[in-house]
Amino acid sequence: MKQADRTLPLPFYKINKNFTVQAYSEEAMKLGKIPENLLEIIDDGSVEKVKKWVSSDIYKSVLEIHLKPLEEQADPITADMYVVWNNDLYAEVILMIKDEKLIQVTNRLSQLRSRLNETNFELLEEKEKLEEAIEQNNRLSAPFIELTKDTALVPLFGDLTSDKMQAVEDYLLKASQKEEIDQLLFDFTAVGEINREGIYMLVNLITSLFYMGIEIIITGVRPKQAKMLHELNLPLQVSFIHSLQQAIAKYCT
């Protein structure tokens, strides 16, 4: 192996069929130690490509390859490889490291991508916080208030959604079991919109309470809500009283 007589301002190698380096240019030394075999400086992922395209069957070829990273770098170096066979035995190879600009654009793109990802991540964190707040809010929208020893009031707040009913179900069942509660008043006065799944969940809850031997009284139902409740065939054992005031007067004296 010797330095080539020709002075080329580019990394240049003369190789034989087995990729053994026969000669090289001065510039080639900038790509690290001159290898015995050209494949030594090629990144593992590109070796097969080089073997396939650098062969004496192909007189001339141009291909893009990755070189192993230089000592202090972490990433493979992308380069174009120009190959010409002088005869069946020897080929001349020039390596052209890719333009800095491409690398800059690539880095810029990945910076943008990570910024997007960070924003996405912050949004996700906010969303989770919000979900927790809603959950918290849901749990608080059906407090269990004991009016007398055997009567309790559950004023429902806000829209009746299945998420909300799910959040309060366990708590209500436990609370009504713990105390010696015989009557439970569900007050609808502060209820906004009702959706089908929400009311369905409420019916389930009422049925469960009923099986626990508790009498259910619903108060403060508005006309629109009454229609929906009607469609759902509530268990017959539920009584309705026009207003909370009347119910309290009836059950708490």
Binding site: D44, G45, E48, K49, K52, W53, S61, V62, L63, E64, P69, A74, D75, P76, T78, K98, L102, T106, L109, S110, R113, S114, N117, F121, L124, E128, E131, E135, D163, Q166, A167
Partner: protein
């Protein structure tokens, strides 16, 4: 007839995000997402790698294809209806690519697969420094830490990370994935606490039968 993944790969390479998206959404109508990830998108990306080996495309083309693929994945992720609210599991996973690693498409699909199973997921993206990842992990206390790497040069970093994670007091499960898990023999890493995930099917199998172990450990 061109195969599905080749067709998709060409949409990616052409930078045609609309066709790519429509193509994928059409497939989603009657196929599970796992099939799409494992049997169409992954092979499409590998096919793009082959095209490069065959000297038919350049690295720049690959970057474009990756960006389009990323876009499409984000879009279907945003449109997916994941398990939420009370049905969501309390399991948490943190996923990221080791420092300097730029390959992340696979990881993104892994993140979606976790979400599909009702997990809470923190996908931190590729090229995450060790300090940064540890801060996040200490804050989030995940049950699973997934690290991904594609190139063999990341092996030393990966080793260091796995050692650090193994010493965390709440003993998270560590998953190693990425092309490296497919190409290299990483047996030396494996232990009670560390598993190698070869591909999404493998991950899915873990969801199906391996998860019980985690549940017992953590509940």
């Amino acid at each position: 007839m061109t195969q599905h993944h080749e067709k998709l790969a060409h949409y990616f390479l052409d930078g045609d995000e609309e066709k790519a998206l429509t193509y994928i959404e059409d497939r989603l109508l009657n196929h599970p997402r796992l099939y799409l990830y494992e049997d169409i998108i992954t092979p499409a990306m590998y096919y793009i790698g082959e095209l490069w080996e065959n000297n038919e495309i350049s690295v720049a083309d690959e970057h474009l294809a990756t960006a389009i693929c990323d876009f499409v994945l984000s879009k279907i992720d945003a449109e997916a209806t994941y398990i939420r609210g009370d049905h969501q599991k309390s399991f948490k996973a943190i996923l990221f690519g080791v420092e300097k690693e730029q390959h992340y498409i696979g990881l993104k699909m892994v993140a979606d697969s976790f979400k599909e199973q009702g997990w809470r997921v923190r996908y931190l993206g590729p090229d995450l420094g060790m300090e940064h990842s540890l801060t996040q992990i200490h804050r989030y206390k995940p049950h699973v830490i997934g690290v991904s790497a594609a190139l063999s040069y990341r092996l030393p970093t990966l080793k260091k990370l796995v050692q650090k994670f193994c010493s965390l007091e709440w003993k998270p499960l560590i998953m190693i994935g990425g092309r490296m898990a497919r190409k290299f023999d990483l047996k030396e890493f494996e232990s009670d606490q560390v598993i190698i995930i070869k591909d999404l099917n493998h991950l899915n199998k873990w969801f199906m039968d391996g998860r019980a172990g985690v549940v017992n450990e953590t509940s």
